[in-house]
Symmetry: C2
Subunit: 262 residues, 2 copies
Amino acid sequence: MAGNSRDPGRSVTARALSVLTAFDVEHPRLTLTGIAQRADIPLATAHRLVRELELWGALQRDPDGRYVIGLRLWEIGLLAPVNGRLREAALPYMQELCETTHDNVHLAVRDELDAVYVEKLTTPRAVPIVSRTGGRLPLHATGVGKVLLAHAPASVLHSCCETGLSRHTAYTITEPGRLGRELQGVRTRGYASANEEMTLGNCSVAVPVHDASGTVVAALGVVAHSVRADVTRLVRSLLPAADGIRQRLAEGERVNLDALHR
Amino acid sequence: MAGNSRDPGRSVTARALSVLTAFDVEHPRLTLTGIAQRADIPLATAHRLVRELELWGALQRDPDGRYVIGLRLWEIGLLAPVNGRLREAALPYMQELCETTHDNVHLAVRDELDAVYVEKLTTPRAVPIVSRTGGRLPLHATGVGKVLLAHAPASVLHSCCETGLSRHTAYTITEPGRLGRELQGVRTRGYASANEEMTLGNCSVAVPVHDASGTVVAALGVVAHSVRADVTRLVRSLLPAADGIRQRLAEGERVNLDALHR
């Protein structure tokens, strides 16, 4: 029981969870053998665990017999606050932004050293981008990432620099000193921008989303063509949207508190 | 291990999964005691399982110490085909529908006797509705539900009638014979409508979404004010959107097949 529960073989629960971890965006459909290999467990164990997970609805079979993540696990995952509270509050504002800008609209939160994309809305006219809902990108190279990093504890920036600031284009900021000054600017200006720092030709602009207590809980951003992006205009659209989300989060908090005191 | 269990027949995996099942939309945040009670397991067992689930990221703590579904479980849930394949293909068309109709736009799939709402987009001008992403509604009383029921095996309609057709308003169809004729009409016309059958004042209109093989895999619908709903106009917006989704699903299938044969 002691130690790292991600280590397969530690406990039955850890092994059952390792079956789920075998799935990722590059491997959303797996055979039983594939699961056993990727989870690093014997085939017989995989067979037994997969059967239990399938019975419960955490896994299900595709028409071709391969396993995929099941509807029930998806339903339970949606109960995470990042969806039930944050995404639900933000979605109408994101739709409005998408309508007015015709660009990609992002909502992201920080998990350790990654920006996790909670929702991504796009239009046929928007530039193609690498993010996807539930996907992760590094913090130092995008608008939403910079906002999250600028409002994270200093230790997070230290860890990012220690891990190494990955270079994605010639314009990615990879020197710790320059990144620190850039983040200071993000805090002062109230928004972040990243011009061709993740993808050539794309510019992203983002603002912080606060909760009722004033804590930055997410970043709201737009990704546009770098040549046609009007940063000032985008910030002017983003700020009231972020404020609308803050208000809806505060209303949700009040509902929660009322429920606690009932 | 089985000694302190209230149900010695339940495996460790089943008990770990029962911890997750303790959470639902009415109970998205639980104390340890709450989890033990709702999962029907001893407190000591709950403590051990919750700790493992928390280490892995399936659960996490709220600022007030209560447990919520974790970011990692949400991320893995998003790998379900209903999200990764269906929702991603449909989202741009749903946004467009939402922009043109200014009403609620739904995407739903059938799971047993329920319509499961895969995505719901709404606008400030839209009528308030009871559905939510990841939520469930009965098949016989909404537009998307009727489409899914009309294209399900006959045994599903039998089961629905046997279980009993719940009445939601004075206009809900609760007689099996009438429902059967209504579904025949849905198949003939190519769309379904439900006027104040789930909620007074609301009208829903829906069309089937086919995959590349011609199977109905989902229903796409709009919920509008019953007085201002123009069914013909709504159907005219829904049909090309459903066809666009079918094309994107077919493209996705081709990518999958290519990956299989690589």
